[in-house]
Amino acid sequence: MENKTLLRIEHLKKTFGDHTILKDISMEVKKGEVIVIIGPSGCGKSTFLRCLNHLETIDGGAVYFKDECISGKNISRAVICQHIGMVFQSYDLFNHLTVIDNITLAAIQVQHRKKAEVEQAARRLLARVGLADKETAYPRQLSGGQKQRIAMIRALILNPEVMLFDEVTASLDPEMVREVLDVIIGLTRQGMTMLIVTHEMSFARAVADRIFFFDDGQIIEENVPERFFDKPGTERAGQFLNSFKFNSVKVK
């Protein structure tokens, strides 16, 4: 990991009507760092990711990418998406396009890259995630795990410097979770900078450089994974983690 700050978030605020979703979030992400954000549902962790790449407008604060402010209203989304890729819970492949067209469409239309070059890159990525034979398949012919891996490639082919993963395994059958998480683990090895929202605790522990625990629109705790999971520094984080454990439950 280099010591260069890639993404800097300062006093980020987000409200929906009277409801404040994000109260005052500040965070610095270094190049190559893997940040895992966890917290109860409704704590604002997904909204936080969506604010970073303009899917939501922000109501206060600023986001800097390499010291350049990218949260202004006049910044075009096409520019931001050059730097920041995002993958969602509900994979959302474009159903009318084949796998290869799904992957290459944005690179060709938004980045104006050559079709041949992009397709070659797409094939390389498909092979890397073990889906080389699915090039001409349509999304309806794929399993959830396969779709999600392709959604990841679709974001990665644009060569982003930061990847946002918003609960990418939440709508998958349990046996498909692993194949998707393995792709993320592969990215960690390549030094990709990532912000990951997940409920997979053992995965979070394995992959994270730092854990941020969100609750009620605030960062409650920031910690390294070992300490966070073994001996959380705040009571709320402890309570939250306990809800995943069944050690103390006695049924019989």
């Binding site: 790449n53 303009h54 899917l55 075009s76 989304r77 096409a78 931001i80 998406c81 050059q82 890729g85 995002m86 969602f88 509900s90 959302d92 474009f94 159903n95 009318h96 469409l105 944005a106 239309q109 938004v110 980045q111 309806r140 959604a151 679709r154 974001a155 644009l158």
Partner: protein
């Protein structure tokens, strides 16, 4: 006497006249259906904007056109405009205007419902890949909406073709009118001609609409999601 009726169909220029009448029907249909598709797409996209004024205006337009029988609209355009504003439209022009207004409203509503049936996630994942609004519609939303639109749009087109027969009532001589004229002219020499002429018209309408249904089925098969 049975053979007298069918003979009328081939007498003189009757057959040709009927086909020329069909040509008027088809011309009217093609012009108005194409215009309605284009304007309806724009209208449908406008209706999905959450702009209060746009929403209000398009809603009123849609409801007004829907509530009015097409015949009343034709009368307003043909007789009403002349009376009220002194604008003298030919029957054909009045019919084109009315059918475009009607088709655009109906088509707009179909496009609107096709667009909102595309999940919000499709817009968002497109946006996250950096597509501009226009690219988003062009490459992702419209192609998918079109696939859902084909069956109801073909249904509308067929309805429009059949409804063009109403223009008889504002003096446009199309297939049905020609048929009536032929029947009237042969009332005494061939009283059973009506059956044959209307039978012929039935088949001509059928063969005008049938290709649309075939095309729709074909496209649906090819685009099966």
């Amino acid at each position: 006497m049975q053979d007298l009726g069918i003979r009328v169909l081939f007498e003189g220029e009757n057959g040709i006249r009927l086909l020329l009448g069909l040509l008027v029907t088809i011309k009217l249909s093609v012009i108005t259906i194409i215009a309605s598709c284009i304007l309806g797409t724009i209208m449908g996209m406008l209706m999905t904007l959450r702009h209060p004024a746009v929403h209000f205006i398009t809603r009123i337009y849609l409801e007004f056109i829907r509530i009015m029988p097409q015949l009343v609209l034709l009368f307003i355009a043909y007789f009403g405009l002349t009376r009220a504003a002194g604008i003298n439209l030919s029957g054909f022009t009045a019919a084109v205007i009315v059918f475009i207004l009607w088709g655009t409203a109906e088509m707009g509503d179909l496009v609107r419902s096709a667009l909102i049936s595309i999940p919000r996630n499709q817009y968002e994942s497109g946006a996250a890949l950096g597509f501009s609004k226009i690219q988003l519609y062009r490459f992702i939303i419209l192609p998918q909406a079109l696939r859902r639109l084909i069956p109801p749009a073909m249904n509308l087109a067929t309805r429009m073709i059949m409804t063009t027969s109403l223009v008889v009532l504002i003096g446009v001589v199309e297939m049905l009118k020609v048929g009536q004229q032929i029947i009237e002219a042969n009332r005494y020499t061939a009283p059973t001609a009506a059956l044959w002429i209307y039978g012929a018209i039935f088949f001509l309408y059928f063969f005008s609409c049938w290709p649309l249904t075939l095309a729709a089925n074909c496209l649906e098969k090819r685009w099966k999601e």
